[in-house]
Amino acid sequence: MSLLSEGADLARPLRPALSRAEPSLAGVEDYLALLKPRVMSLVVFTALVGLLVAPGHIHPFIGFVALLCIAIGAGASGALNMWYDADIDAVMTRTKKRPIPAGRIEPGEALAFGTTLAVFSVGVLGVLVDWFAAALLAFTIFFYVFVYTMWLKRSTPQNIVIGGAAGAFPPVVGWAAVTGDISLAPVLMFLIIFLWTPPHFWALSLLRCDDYARAGVPMLPVVAGYDATRRQILIYTLLLAPAGLAPWIAGFAGFVYGVVALACGLVMLHLAWRVYRDRAGASAATAARRLFAFSLLYVFAVFAALLVDSLLARFGLLP
């Protein structure tokens, strides 16, 4: 397929915009951009929820250290992703101004930066908090960098489905930082983010299909077409809505969570149905944009409800 051959052509090393002899123009803000702060905010929030809803006690400062390590680990993954994907980023409108394709940071600098942060985040989490949580964080970084970025992203339209597991691990790491193990509750939190990822990213890819095609990234709309993508979005949202209710059904969350998860699940389903139904013209783009925007709200709302519910129950404010 032509797409794959274009992708293979992109495998050549990115020619740095700066000569090696030329001093770096990178500012501190460029290194912060390598950490993908917007992605990090979701990671930190879901990890915080995992940490706070876990049974048991953790000293607030040690909990802060755990969150900091999870955030830095996520940032390290982002930096290593930008190092490896610099060739793709350079041809995509959305990413061509990132520090490496823009020539402000050398690929080798990003590699060293990401590797250092990855080693430190895992090491500090292990030494100061818990080695099982540290092992989970190390696996998350490994999965995002090696399985998703280096392997799946350029080879299969299922890239974000399987790769979504990396984004689903933070609440599990947060939970493990407190308990030192995994039980059903963190698995359900993992499942919610795992099933949420495909509708979220495929809604975006419907809007950015040309960008992905030009970069040779086999996203589902590029390889299978728009209609197949709309069908898959609807299927995954049909799985996500009941999965969102699972913590309530399993008795892990209470009434507040159940109501929020039900309402948000129904809105997600409605918006996914609109994406499936509106296939042409401006209404198709609007439907995809609305689903993408609400999907961000969905994951924040569901995890916030989980946190509120857990805190209410902990302080005896729920029946």
Binding site: A21, S24, G27, V28, F61, V124, L128, W131
Partner: protein, 53 residues
């Protein structure tokens, strides 16, 4: 003996400013790490020596 001035790199004001900002950021990061370990040692107390694997 040849003049080595041709090999010297002269930094622009902007490059000097950014290098200073990077250096300060690295120094602050190391300082935070030291404080982090110091407080964690106080918080954990004798438990900091326990290393079950």
């Amino acid at each position: 003996m040849s003049d080595s001035n041709d090999d010297e790199i002269v930094l622009t004001e902007e490059q000097i400013r950014r290098r200073r900002a990077r250096s300060i950021a690295i120094a602050l990061s190391l300082g935070v790490l030291v404080i982090l370990f110091y407080i964690a040692t106080l918080v954990k107390g004798p438990a900091v020596l326990i290393r079950p694997l």
